[in-house]
Each structure stands twice: as C-alpha cells, then as structure tokens.
Symmetry: C2
Amino acid sequence: MDSYGTLNEALVSLFNDVMDIEQKAIITEQFKDITNNDMHVIDAIGIGTPKNMSTIAKELSVTVGTLTIAMNSLVKKGYVTRQRSSEDRRVVYISLSDKGRKAYKHHADFHRKMIQGIMEELDEQELEVLVKAIHHLDNWFREVQQK
Amino acid sequence: MDSYGTLNEALVSLFNDVMDIEQKAIITEQFKDITNNDMHVIDAIGIGTPKNMSTIAKELSVTVGTLTIAMNSLVKKGYVTRQRSSEDRRVVYISLSDKGRKAYKHHADFHRKMIQGIMEELDEQELEVLVKAIHHLDNWFREVQQK
DNA sequence: TAAAAAAATCTTGAAAATCAAAGTATTTCT
DNA sequence: AGAAATACTTTGATTTTCAAGATTTTTTTA
C-alpha cells in the first residue's frame, strides 16, 4: 500500500509550509524589527502576570544566559520591560510593553486565522478524525521521547 | 464550540514535539557529530543521482553561500563528497558518502516508524480522511503564502 | 573571434542564537 | 557570621545565516 508514502509526504510538506509561513506572518510592516526568535520569546512572556527569567527560559528550553541576550535586544527595541522584584532582589520580572502586547496579539491573530482556515475546509467528521490523529501522533512522540 | 482551542493546542503541541524529537532522533551514538541542520542537508541531497549546489540550496530555501559553509563541514566530517562536473566545470556535484547514506537511512527509518506509529492507530477510512485533511491544510497554507 | 554578460560556486564580514563557565548580587541555611 | 544556594548577567567560543564581492567557466553578442 502507498498510504505510507502519501501520509509521509503530506506531513513533511505540511510541516515545511507551517515553518515558512509562521516566519513570514510574523515580520510585517508594523513589526519589521522582530525576528522569529523574538516572537517566540514574546509568546512565552505572554500577556498575563509578569514572569521571571528562569520560568521563561524553561518554557523555551534555552539557558538563562541565552534568554538574557534575547531580552537585552527586546528591551532595546521596546517590546519588553524588566522590573526587579522588591521581595527578592535577585529576581527580574519580565513583562510586555504596549508594543509587545500588540505584537503578541498580532501573532495570536495569525494562529486564530490559521485554525479558522483549516476548519472551514473540513466537515465535522473530518475535523474529529484530524484531532484524533494529531493526538495519536502526539502520544506517539511522547512515548518515543521517554525511551 | 471549542474545536478551535482543541485543534490549535493539538497542533502547537505536535509541532513542538516534532521539533524536539526530530532533533533527538538524529543525534545517536553512531552519528553524534551531526547537527539538526546537517541532517536536513543530508536529506535534501538524497540517495539518488548527485545534485548541484544551486538545486540543493533552492530545495532548502537558503542561499548558495550558506550551503557552501554547511557542505564544508559535512565534507570534513565525511558525510558528503564534492565532484566537479566535467561538462560544465563551474558546477559542483554533491553526493552522500557511505557514512552519509547510512545517516540518510537512519533518518528515513525514523520517519517510517513515525508514520507506522500513526497508521497503527487509525483504520482505513480514518487514514483516508487524515490524508485529505492534511492536503486541505496544505492548500490553505499555499494560498496564504501567495498573498 | 574577442569582449561582455551571465552563471555557478566560494569567500568574507557582520549579525543572531546558542551554550558552558565564570562572575555578581542576594537570600537561605547551618 | 560564614557557607551554600539561587537568580541573573557577562564572557568567549561555535554555528547558522545573509549580502556583497571575488573567481572561474560558459554563453552571448557585436
């Protein structure tokens, strides 16, 4: 059977497209000084209560040193603010500036449109199968990772 | 309906996992000097007839200069061989060495197992719907990209 | 056919992303 | 009080990337 080849190619093609488009969707007129990496950091910071460096670094699976460098750049560009904790003066709280929040929402919007675009093309049953298949995939990945 | 949230989260989670695991699956005892990037290049070279630099660069969406640097490293590590064309001496043909072919097959094997893992979880009809859904997704991405 | 233009690749210089290890400031433990 | 732990930054090195310039070879043109 050639379901294997078909599925493999479909997945690989999909994966590559998503990577490409995410990148292009991020850098627009309005946010042209932002890199792909910057956007991931902005996404990890989020629009909720401020987070400290260690928490964000763990979320992104990078060292705190690496994150410091990314933050320096984002602060300089005006997307992020640093605030030393007054209770524990070792801790630095990170939050998004107005500009940062705008970028965050721009990215979230892209995701929303993407999912919408997908859902429009699928009927109820297809959608169900897709979600199920993705979960299977996800479980399979997690199992492999444990070994 | 919360199909939106479900699908979005499933996709995001899947993507992060794929990224992580692809990376970990590549670097094994046998191929411990290979990076994620190296593997993508090896994959693009393939085990068919040799390809020139421009072709591979286009396939990977990088400049030829970038590819030259990656190739220098792969040649030095013994995964790739360079061969100047005798018809057109500007052209350099790239092909995988024995070691390179082994790495290629190792990676292909990972993909095969991944697809197998998914397919085991789905019946014939579901599989068909999945492939169709993925193609829809893929088309949507291509449309967006054109704008 | 000689000169100009085009093509394929490589080199160079600069920026971004990354880590490990060392350094600084602060808090907690003994 | 002194030692150990914690949170973060700095430093030095490596990798990946691009744009622009350089080199070699082929193709086009006058």
